[in-house]
């Protein structure tokens, strides 16, 4: 991934910075320029909002055939998580026996290495999720 492309999303990748619609109060991640519920009414009313990072697993899968950047890490788990704020996020589940992962499991975000552009390129950090304490 190009460095500028990764860099502009650091507030999201490191700190789960989303948006909240000042019109209806709904929280979105990644940030949205316009609220899907309020649409026109929300233009100019979307403010930065940092998600807590806690949520519940809605569904999950275990990836056995990884894409290029993730070779050597398989098998690993990916889940769709309903965050406490109401929006969904996708992310890897780490530090957990694959067999332990279940729908309804409570998770919290953590800071991990996501990808790297080979051994001489930049490293991309971001969020993954682990079992909540």
């Amino acid at each position: 991934m190009g460095v500028a492309r990764y860099w502009r999303e650091i507030p999201q990748r490191y700190n789960l910075m989303g948006t909240k619609c000042k019109s209806c109060g709904k929280v979105y991640f990644p940030p949205k320029a316009i609220c899907p519920s309020c649409r026109r009414k929300s233009v100019g009313k979307m403010e930065d909002y940092k998600l807590k990072g806690t949520g519940t697993i809605e569904t999950y899968t275990i990836i056995y055939a990884p894409p290029p950047y993730f070779e050597g890490e398989e098998p690993y788990a990916i889940a769709l998580i309903k965050m406490d704020e109401g929006c969904n996020m996708m992310g890897q589940i780490v530090d957990c026996e694959l067999g332990e992962i279940h729908i309804g499991m409570k998770v919290e975000s953590c800071f991990r290495r996501i990808e790297e552009d080979g051994s001489s390129g930049a490293i991309q950090y971001g969020y993954k999720f682990r079992k909540a304490e």
């Binding site: 809605e58 569904t59 899968t61 990836i63 056995y64 889940a79 996708m90 993954k128």
Partner: protein
């Protein structure tokens, strides 16, 4: 808006076609459709070509112009447009062509779809396919395209008790149907055990739950219904052509056990055709993964939500069942050259509607539906057709 009909169609063989190039496939399908329609190049007003990612598979963009050149039509300077909606590129190309004819803007339109996926290695093809998903918030994090459908499969299994065996039955049925299709990538029959024993790709989807990487192209010729009667003995009327969009990311969907885009497009299509789901005799649905077919027959209104698995146990959608689904072998056995799939589905509907499906001909084939999906459900395109 005037009525539109198909007067000719053609597909190439689907498979790992090492000796065929993208341009070659486009020409083969296009010429075959034009010959089938019995029209001359000078009759054509416009072309629409669906292709998902020729740029990354073979480094080629600008497919509208490429298609014009390889079809021998460049000197005629017809309107030629590339359409992209990931795996729904073909269906969307037809919808675009349909609107052009229905509106009266163009009279005779060739619509095709093509994808050349085997010039890159498997892993690279998989990576390219992931651009149908949300690159920043899904693919970047390590989820693969099978992974997205696996997430939906696990949710469906959790909510409705759908089983891996029921998923496998989709693959078994489609391979059985495909064994009668000489153009299909795979002609071999498989069993439920074969599916369950195949390598796990993204839990709970096994290798045989997933459609393959394929090269291929398909094309149809459409014109107004009135004009069609001049050209074809049996024009095939397009009763409905509908498209719906939804969030590209799975996280942005309103539900995980269905593709709301399918239901929305279906609703538009049924209304346009003046039909209920019970009015459909057979359908080609988008079985990129076995779970997709199970969700599709629910979302299209053929069975209740959650009962797609049960329908497999009851054989509802078998070749000799009450509602045959994917008589061509589906994406699973016929193959899934991404941009071509939507048009290849139409070709199968035409064969069945005309009684020309040979060993896989179904008894009652008066009204057929084609259901084509882009990505994990970001786009849905539905066509309903009948023989007149």
């Amino acid at each position: 808006m005037r009525e539109v009909a198909v007067i000719g169609s053609g597909v190439t063989k689907f498979g790992e076609l090492w000796d065929k190039s993208l341009a070659g496939l486009v020409a083969e399908a296009g010429i075959s459709a034009i010959m089938d329609a019995g029209i001359d190049g000078t009759d054509i007003d416009a072309m629409y070509i669906g292709g998902m990612s020729a740029g990354r598979f073979v480094g080629q963009e600008h497919l509208g112009s490429l298609a014009a050149e390889v079809s021998g039509l460049s000197e005629l300077h017809i309107s030629s447009t590339r359409v992209e909606a990931a795996c729904a590129s073909g269906g969307l190309a037809l919808h675009s062509g349909y609107l052009a004819v229905a509106s009266g803007a163009y009279d005779m339109v060739v619509v095709g779809g093509a994808e050349k996926m085997t010039d890159v290695v498997g892993k690279e093809a998989t990576n390219i396919l992931a651009s149908a998903a949300d690159r920043e918030w899904e693919a970047f994090l390590g989820v693969t395209f099978p992974g997205l459908y696996a997430l939906m499969a696990r949710y469906h299994m959790h909510k409705y008790g759908t089983t891996s065996e029921q998923l496998a039955k989709v693959a078994v049925k489609n391979h059985y149907n495909g064994s009668f299709n000489p153009k299909a990538q795979y002609n071999r029959k498989i069993t439920v055990e074969d599916v369950l024993n195949s390598t796990m790709v993204a839990d709970p989807l096994h290798l045989l739950d997933c459609s393959p990487i394929t090269d291929g192209a398909a094309a149809v010729v459409i014109t107004s219904l009135d004009k069609a009667k001049e050209y074809a003995e049996e024009p095939i009327k397009i009763l409905a052509s509908a498209q719906a969009s939804d969030s590209i990311s799975l996280a942005g969907r309103s539900r995980l056990d269905a593709l709301p885009a399918t239901t929305a497009a279906a609703s538009k299509a049924y209304r346009q055709a003046g039909l209920e789901p019970s009015g459909i005799d057979f359908a080609e649905v988008h079985d990129c993964f076995t779970i997709a077919e199970i969700m599709a027959i629910e979302d299209l209104g053929f069975v209740n939500k959650g009962e797609g698995g049960k329908a497999m146990d009851e054989g509802l959608t078998e070749l000799d069942g009450k509602l045959p689904i994917n008589t061509s072998g589906g994406l699973k056995s016929k193959g899934h050259p991404v941009g071509a799939t939507g048009i290849a589905q139409i070709h199968e509907l035409i064969l069945q509607l005309k009684g020309k499906a040979d060993k896989r001909q179904i008894e009652k084939a008066e009204v057929g539906m084609a259901h084509n999906i882009g990505g994990s459900g970001g786009t849905a395109v539905i066509h309903i057709m009948e023989a007149i």
